[in-house]
């Protein structure tokens, strides 16, 4: 197959998957969001052809069985990775639909994750491993701005670094697994308090606060005591102001909702 034929097939596969997932989960994507997803897929193929064509095993399930939490609960850890296995070299990739900056920002979490995956791969499966990395498929603003301009897009793609190498360190696996077990206990014991006010005020990689960046998009914010405290400290002290703040909605969201009524109001 030529590159163009693969790209055409990729568009078909994308549509098929979209219809399947929609039928499955009910939710639809607005046209812009759907286009962004397709663009992510197509740019992965253009930018990372070198890796994609060498992948030897895709969506490989990894399982760490027989674990016990501090409180005595039995559990297993599960994950999924892609593997590039060549004659003298094996690399493990985890594909994330975040952007590379986001991955850098939460690097610790991803290091721990790939450490555990590497441990399962090497120790339980007895397979060699030379490198682990995250592939962050969300394209950066520099690419987004020039999507319509083929020439500048080529340049922007060349400058984009979607692969984030994560060195793996088996020394830390034990501590990570212990932390995982503690989380299992916390979930089973129903510790479901929201993040702290200090966490909500802390800035994320985008320069915005966690409360704006993450909570602002969370439906649970209306009923969340931490988010209400965050809103109050951001100057919305009175109850009426607070409600107005909670109900704020951005223009883009409004537009994507209005797009959805299109087919239904024509009948």
């Amino acid at each position: 197959m030529t590159d163009a034929a693969i790209e055409a097939r990729l568009r078909e596969l994308f549509e098929e998957n979209y219809e399947l997932l929609r039928a499955d989960g009910g939710h639809a994507l607005s046209p812009e969001v759907k286009l962004a997803a397709l663009t992510q897929v197509l740019l992965y193929w253009r930018k990372l052809k070198g890796i994609a064509t060498k992948v030897s095993d895709t969506e490989v399930p990894l399982v760490l069985p027989d674990q016990q939490s501090p409180a005595g609960r039995r559990y297993t850890i599960e994950g999924v990775v892609d593997i590039v296995q060549e004659a003298d070299r094996t690399v493990m990739y985890d594909i994330k639909t975040h952007d590379a900056d986001y991955v850098q920002q939460y690097r610790d979490l991803y290091e721990n994750q790939l450490n555990v995956y590497a441990y399962i791969w090497q120790t339980l499966r007895g397979q060699p491993l030379d490198e682990t990395a995250i592939i962050a498929t969300a394209y950066p603003p520099a690419v987004k701005q020039v999507l319509q301009d083929p020439e500048r897009l080529t340049q922007a793609l060349a400058a984009w670094e979607p692969v984030v190498p994560i060195p793996f360190d088996q020394q830390r696996v034990e501590a990570t697994i212990a932390g995982f077990g503690a989380t299992v206990d916390a979930i089973e014991e129903h510790c479901f308090h929201p993040r702290s006010l200090a966490d909500l005020q802390a800035k994320t990689g985008s320069g915005r606060r966690f409360g704006q960046d993450v909570c602002g998009n969370c439906d649970a914010r209306y009923s969340c005591s931490a988010y209400r405290d965050f809103a109050r400290t951001s100057g919305h002290r009175q109850e009426t102001q607070l409600r107005a703040f909670l109900a704020q909605q951005d223009e883009q969201d409004r537009a994507s909702r209005l797009d959805a009524i299109q087919t239904h109001d024509q009948d």
């Binding site: 998957n17 939710h27 069985p65 027989d66 439906d219 109900a247 537009a255 209005l258 024509q266």
Partner: protein, 557 residues
């Protein structure tokens, strides 16, 4: 089933081979007495083929043995009595089991019924509630009648108004549905009165709805004045500014008409020969931009609803499970009917009320319990699950109460239709319905690990299937004499299968925000914009397909 039963004969006939038989006849789940009981029960039926093949049976002849040889009492029946007395006696036993810590949580005691529609189900539920226990049976009681669900719809009714009521149909389900609407509305009023903020909120929603409706007529007048066609194509160059200049239009509508990204999209569509209809553009400008699902989450601002979204101190997960299910129903409605936003046209002609209440919700109200098992069904902590025997397939519980020993054998219509078309020997139709009832009860009896409780109804009009009768004789252990001491205690954790946790979907998500994890992962709440999840799955799946495609290509010569 038949394939299993016929396997040896067919091996001989077609393969000329005697198949090796490896018996899987050890039961690792249940106490010895439970195994003996269901064996004795199955032996009550005559499984032999009709003559002349009398030596063959319509079941695999195997003798299940229990691996657990403990001789603790494990099967007990209620005192034979009328349904109320039986329910009260069983409820008393459940209280004792909890007090003496024979189970770690009420959700380890399952009540199984052939059907959840029988009257004895409601009676059993009431008896348990009378002693302060909570039941989880979303498929038994009407889902909409659950208190937290009624409360939400009470507010929806206050905002959108009641659907039409037609006296001609004043009977049956229709009447019951409208009675429920009245109850919900009253609940809504009570909740509103208790919270001045909620009163303001509802008034604000009324004002928004009135505003979009008020925008529609002037825009329609502008369309008429220019002799444009609502169904005709929208041409931004000619139409945008006259529409936006309409007298008395709200700022919101004007902004929506003049939106730059939309303008761009409309021009692209026009150039591609797929223009928007003018009517759509007007509906778009005169729509409320929140859905019933958004409303659900917004109500969390008010104490009454906020409290429902927290786990109560007694660990009762029932309301959260029910509300998670509610968001799933709302999301289905929103997506199916494109109700992410609702246009003035739909609101003013009561089309929205008709679609939502009279079509969607009424269908939900009438939907009976489903006989199909659903692996997604939760067993919330703090509540006693009520299940159909079908739903219980493949599950196990420390204590099982079989709530009804009567099930009439009826030939399924589909069996009767299909049978003559099958060109092979099978169970005689008139007997197979009886066999199926036995197999169903076998499933129920074999779900129990430590204790199996049988509801023994006796009285006018009350029957139990006759295979149970010789077993439940005068010597059979009865609840009043049951000593709980020797019965094994079930623990919450050690007993259960190891749980699988995903590094990303559990561990990382929990650390992102434990509360978000609770609602959206643990209790299945659907986000009002489910786009983030769909986006990720869509990209991942397509890249996986790409990799498969490339791998397949490489392996080609």
């Amino acid at each position: 089933m038949e394939n299993f039963v016929q396997f040896p004969a067919r091996c001989r006939r077609y393969l000329n081979q005697e198949p090796a038989q490896i018996d899987l006849n050890t039961n690792y789940r249940s106490s010895e007495r439970i195994v003996s009981f269901y064996r004795a029960f199955m032996d009550q039926k005559d499984w032999r083929h009709d003559p002349p093949d009398h030596h063959q049976e319509y079941r695999i002849p195997k003798q299940i043995k229990a691996q657990r040889q403990d001789q603790a009492p494990a099967v007990v029946a209620s005192t034979p009595a009328r349904a109320e007395a039986v329910a009260a006696e069983i409820a008393g036993l459940v209280v004792r089991l909890l007090q003496e810590k024979k189970v770690a949580d009420p959700n380890q005691i399952a009540f199984l019924f052939p059907s959840l529609k029988a009257a004895c189900v409601e009676r059993m539920k009431t008896a348990l509630e009378d002693v302060g226990l909570k039941v989880y049976a979303p498929r038994a009681s009407r889902f909409l009648e659950l208190p937290e669900i009624t409360d939400y719809f009470g507010i929806v009714l206050l905002i959108f108004g009641k659907p039409d009521y037609n006296e001609e149909f004043a009977a049956g389900d229709y009447q019951a549905f409208h009675d429920w609407i009245t109850v919900a509305e009253t609940r809504g009023e009570t909740i509103r009165e208790a919270d001045p903020g909620l009163t303001t909120f509802i008034a604000g929603k009324h004002a928004e709805i009135a505003a979009v409706i008020a925008d529609f007529d002037p825009l329609a007048a502008t369309v008429q004045a220019h002799h444009w066609d609502m169904d005709g194509p929208y041409d931004p160059d000619r139409m945008k500014h006259p529409l936006a200049a309409t007298q008395g239009l709200s700022d919101q509508a004007r902004r929506t008409l003049l939106s730059v990204p939309f303008d761009h999209l409309a021009r692209t569509r026009l150039a591609e020969g797929k223009p928007f209809a003018l009517g759509y553009v007007i509906n778009r400008a005169t729509a409320i931009d929140w859905s019933l699902l958004d409303l659900f989450y917004q109500l969390g601002m008010f104490q009454h609803f906020k409290a429902m979204l927290e786990l109560p101190p007694d660990g009762d997960e029932g309301p959260l499970c029910n509300l998670g299910l509610l968001t799933q129903y709302l999301a289905k409605f929103v997506d199916h009917y494109g109700a992410h936003a609702v246009s003035a046209q739909r609101l003013s002609a009561d089309r929205f009320q008709r679609t939502f209440f009279t079509s969607y919700l009424y269908a939900l109200f009438r939907r009976g319990e489903s006989e199909f098992e659903d692996a997604q069904d939760p067993f919330p902590k703090g509540r006693i699950p009520f299940l159909t025997i079908h739903q219980s397939k493949g599950l196990e519980f420390p204590v099982v109460v079989l709530g009804n020993l009567r099930k009439d054998a009826r030939v399924q219509r589909v069996e009767a239709t299909v049978r003559p078309l099958l060109d092979r020997p099978s169970e005689p139709l008139e007997r197979s319905a009886g066999f199926d009832v036995m197999r169903m009860y076998y499933v129920a009896l074999s779900r129990a690990k430590n204790l199996l409780v049988l509801a023994h109804f006796r009285g006018p009009g009350l029957f139990i299937n006759h295979e149970f009768r010789p077993l439940l004789d005068a010597n059979f252990p009865r609840i009043p004499a049951l000593q709980l001491g020797p019965i094994a205690c079930a623990t919450a954790t050690q007993d259960s299968q190891p749980q699988a946790y995903s590094y990303t979907a559990d561990y990382l998500l929990y650390h992102h925000c434990p509360r978000q994890y609770m609602l959206f992962r643990k209790y299945g709440f659907v986000p009002s914009r489910g786009t983030v999840m769909l986006f990720g799955s869509l990209v991942h799946r397509t890249l996986e397909d790409l990799h498969h495609l490339l791998i397949a290509q490489r392996s080609q010569p």
